[in-house]
Amino acid sequence: MIFFWAFVVGGLICVIGQIMFDVFKLTPGHTLSTLVVVGAVLDGLGLYEPLIDFAGAGVTVPITSFGNSLVHGAMEEAEKHGLIGVVTGMFEVTSAGISAAIIFGMIGAILFKAKG
């Protein structure tokens, strides 16, 4: 069942992005930045966790989860170390996405050549 909801919820988030592209005429950069902020705010309100339980990868794969996991890491550290933890824990949970992007970006640049 979670496969079905992952498909539907993930699809719907992409539709929201497409509407922002087409109806509000935003650039991809603006759209993605907005979605990340939305994800961060949703997690701040405590609404993102139940969504993950409900739809699994449907909400962890779209870019909104980036904002969510940033807040998550910051909050986890903040519980241990207070306000300083907000800065030190920021990338605690998100590291996978960013380090994967950097590492595979470098490998890609070594392996592949630009076409055209």
Partner: protein, 159 residues
């Protein structure tokens, strides 16, 4: 702002502007949304397959399985971007391939490959986050504000 711009234009220019607006090709919003829905849904479905795999074989939980899933998806994106397949998917799916984390990966990796001719330090290193940088900036800054407010509320507000 749009009004201010309009006042400066001569009547003929204004006429031209309205004419241009009338003849602008309408974007097929509904069709694009359906495409985005199915491609985006499919990517999330693949992500769910991966996280189920990680939950069963590597002892991740539903909450933490997102991390290795994202890394694997970005790896797949690297291959697709390198072989030039991702561009075609992106043209077809629009936001369906841009909003999932694969779009983030694609923007980093395609920038890295594209600027390789300028050298590894200035080209790849300097341009890698050209597009993804704004996502990281706004993500980190908004997360900082949100976490700051929440921490203050918890510590001094007694939440």
């Amino acid at each position: 702002m749009a009004n201010k711009k309009k006042k400066k234009l001569t009547p003929t220019q204004q006429q031209y502007q309205t004419l241009q607006k009338q003849n602008e090709t309408k974007r097929p919003v509904l069709k694009n949304c359906i495409k985005a829905f199915f491609v985006g849904g499919f990517i999330c479905f693949v992500g769910q397959l991966l996280s189920t795999f990680y939950i069963y074989y590597f002892n991740f939980t539903e909450q933490t399985a997102g991390n290795p899933t994202v890394a694997t998806l970005i790896f797949i994106t690297m291959l697709l971007t390198g072989f030039g397949v991702y561009d075609r998917i992106a043209q077809f799916a629009g936001a369906g391939s841009a909003v999932p984390v694969t779009g983030f990966g694609n923007s980093v990796i395609s920038a890295a490959i594209e600027h390789r001719t300028e050298g590894f330090v200035l080209g790849v290193g300097g341009n890698m986050f050209k597009l993804a940088g704004s996502v990281i900036l706004f993500g980190v800054f908004s997360a900082f504000i949100v976490a700051l407010i929440k921490t203050i509320l918890i510590q001094w507000g007694g939440l």
